[in-house]
């Protein structure tokens, strides 16, 4: 029974950790499927996290924070788009540049505006955070192991953004695979020449993809500072943007496998915390660092072709220039 409770709690933690990964991975998916490498996921999430926490602290509303987070991430995304699409700049460099810039800018603005060493004030007022939503009959359900505990911990008890992310996944899949826009977006990533010949603006489509990426990163970043924590702390994304990119690649740029990858990576994170110092039957105590490094090792193995093949969109990374 204790193992069962443990597993349920572990899975619940997995869902909470996977949410920002999933949102960021979806963001990366839209951008990369249209042909723009998205190394700015980390920066966009961090910028959104800061903006959301700052606005929420000042206005007292997490919803306004969410709006600010989305606006910030979209602005950063459009900046990357401007450099990569209009100016045909190197997409890797642009993404890295914005990430580095934001990692310095957020604490600088935080220090100047709030004087707390780069952080934002704690979000402890009512409505300043996205808190756990109370589902009906959660307390009595918790007493019943099966399926009560599942209902209380796994299904219920998460905050709004978790459910939003869960809904955005099938929605993103639908947009990408079942709408004309999605078809054109995927085409632009595989063969922009053909799309251009058909009379559709490649650049406009890529800008739209990049903007969508911004929106999703905005939600991801807002989640980190207003739902998962109660404020912005410097470098709080801690590599999640790169982890999301790894999950996207692991999921072969498709929505549902990416979800699997995000859950897998999140599970290793939750497991690492739980297994710290615990001696396992055959291998003994696994150093926590090894478990934390596992998602990155898995991605490398995938890229090496040992875990199946990962084929990127054909036209990714190449700026599109109309032939004269």
């Amino acid at each position: 029974m204790e193992t069962y409770t443990l597993i349920v709690l572990l899975l619940a933690a997995t869902i909470r950790v996977a949410t920002p990964l999933l949102l960021a991975a979806m963001a990366g998916m839209f951008s990369e499927r249209s042909g723009i490498i998205d190394l700015g996921l980390e920066g966009k999430m961090l910028g959104a996290a800061f903006a959301a926490a700052a606005v929420s602290a000042v206005t007292g509303s997490a919803w306004l924070g969410l709006g600010a987070g989305i606006v910030t991430a979209v602005a950063l995304a459009l900046l990357i788009g401007f450099a990569c699409i209009t100016h045909r700049g190197n997409q890797v460099v642009a993404g890295m540049a914005v990430t580095i810039m934001v990692s310095g800018l957020a604490p600088t603005l935080g220090l100047a505006w709030f004087n707390l060493g780069g952080q934002t004030p704690q979000l402890d007022g009512p409505g300043q955070r996205f808190t756990e939503l109370a589902w009906p009959w959660v307390e009595p359900a918790r007493a019943v192991p099966f399926p009560g505990l599942l209902y209380a911990e796994l299904l219920g008890g998460h905050n709004l953004i978790v459910y939003l992310a869960a809904a955005l996944l099938p929605f993103s899949a639908w947009v990408l695979y079942r709408t004309r826009f999605g078809l054109r977006l995927r085409a632009v990533g595989e063969n922009p020449q053909a799309v251009d010949t058909a009379g559709i603006s490649v650049n406009a489509l890529r800008y739209q993809a990049v903007a969508i990426s911004g929106v999703l990163c905005g939600v991801a970043g807002t989640y980190l500072s207003t739902a998962a924590s109660s404020g912005f702390v410097r470098d709080m994304t801690a590599g999640k943007g790169y982890l999301a990119l790894a999950a996207l690649i692991f999921g072969k740029w498709r929505p549902w496998p990416t979800l699997g990858a995000c859950l897998l990576f999140a599970f290793t994170d939750a497991l690492a915390t739980r297994l710290q110092g615990v001696a396992l039957p055959v291998v003994g105590v696994i150093p926590v660092q090894f478990i934390l490094a596992l998602p990155y090792v898995l991605t490398v193995l995938l890229l090496a072709g040992f875990v199946g093949k990962a084929i990127a969109p054909r036209a990714i990374g190449v700026p599109y220039a109309k032939e004269k």
């Binding site: 460099v93 810039m101 100047a112 990119l245 991605t299």
Partner: protein
């Protein structure tokens, strides 16, 4: 009409980076103004903090040494057409190699320790670059992603080693014991003292000279040897390289090994010269500054040295700035770094087009 006009060499290597830097500083000035401080005062404080005293010059050049190594690393890979984002991890593991030699060779004299430490650091850094390089060469795995992953794996590995294996017994903080004096890199102020010149004590040390030597060797290699030529050809046009009998996969691996080796030398400055022990996260972002330095220096050793000194000045000036202007701190330097990377790297064509037009008008009119 479709072939882009070329800028004269001095404009390409000197004027364009200067314009990009000016633009980066201008944008940073806007941010400083938004924060409520005067950009001009900030710039003056920055300059004074970086070059205003012997101590600040020493610190500036000490920081610059790190950036020369990582800048060279990124540049060598770039000439082969590769993006080495993994300089941070390679520097970290390289430092492990250097530190192990320093710890194991206990009381050996300096002239024994130094070459072995250089070899160990370079070899360890190269080894860390090998797997991503091989995967790109043989399996087509995108080197940018693999090197980013390897940065994180390096961080996890080093944390494990420092906390569990290499930590000085009986100590809380994850560091090794201090190196024996034979493994201390001679500080410049001591070397100058022997010549009768007084210089304030700073961490500025002999590794700077080694960095300059490395820059010279890189220049020789890339522009004066057959292998360097092969590297540049493979970087510019892999298909043409094959026709010339050059093997792009081999170049990929070779270039990355050299790149990793250069990054791995960072420990010579930071560990042997300043910290005298191995500690967590000692590269402190130098691998990423190396990207900015390489881009700004147009991947040429002379440009890299200048850009490295510039960034060293920004780092040193930035930390001084936070004393006098509490609202602006060292993070502002990171913002400038990001802007430099953006303007010099991603948006390099932004100023090139009008500049080229200007030069063409001057020639044609």
């Amino acid at each position: 009409m479709s072939a882009p006009a070329k800028l004269p060499r001095w404009a390409e290597l000197g004027l364009l980076p200067a314009i990009n830097l000016a633009a980066a500083l201008l944008l940073s000035g806007v941010i400083v103004r938004i924060l409520g401080e005067s950009p001009w005062s900030a710039l003056k404080l920055l300059a004074a903090g970086a070059l205003g005293s012997q101590e600040s010059i020493g610190y500036t050049l000490y920081y610059a040494t790190n950036f020369i190594f990582t800048g060279l690393a990124v540049a060598v890979a770039y000439h082969a057409g590769l993006f080495n984002i993994g300089a941070e991890g390679q520097a970290y593991i390289g430092g492990l190699g250097t530190a192990l030699v320093c710890l194991w060779l206990g009381s050996a004299p300096f002239w024994v320790v130094l070459p072995l430490a250089v070899l160990a650091g370079a070899a360890a850094g190269a080894a860390w670059a090998f797997i991503p390089a091989w995967l790109q060469a043989r399996r087509g795995s995108h080197i940018v992603i693999t090197t980013i992953m390897f940065n994180f794996i390096a961080s996890a590995l080093m944390t494990y080693l420092l906390v569990n294996v290499l930590i000085k017994p009986g100590q809380q903080s994850p560091e090794t014991r201090e190196f024996a004096p034979g493994a201390f890199m001679p500080p410049i102020h001591e070397l100058l003292a022997r010549l009768g010149i007084t210089f304030t004590a700073t961490p500025f040390n002999f590794a700077f000279v080694l960095a300059l030597a490395a820059a010279a060797l890189v220049w020789l290699f890339i522009w004066r040897t057959r292998w360097g030529y092969a590297l540049r050809v493979a970087g510019e046009n892999a298909a043409a390289a094959v026709y010339a009998g050059i093997s792009p996969p081999r170049i990929t691996v070779g270039a990355m090994l050299l790149s990793g080796a250069l990054a791995g030398c960072l420990g010579l400055n930071e560990l042997m010269g300043a910290q005298h022990r191995l500690l967590l996260d000692f590269p402190g972002g130098a691998g990423f500054v190396g990207i900015a330095v390489a881009l700004m220096g147009r991947n040429h050793p002379v440009g890299i040295i200048l850009a490295a000194v510039l960034f060293g000045a920004l780092y040193q000036g930035g930390s001084q700035l936070s004393f006098d202007m509490p609202k602006v701190n060292r993070d502002m330097v990171v913002v400038i770094q990001g802007l430099v990377i953006l303007l010099c790297g991603a948006m390099e064509h932004l100023f090139r087009a009008p500049l080229t037009a200007l030069f063409r008008r001057k020639d044609g009119a």
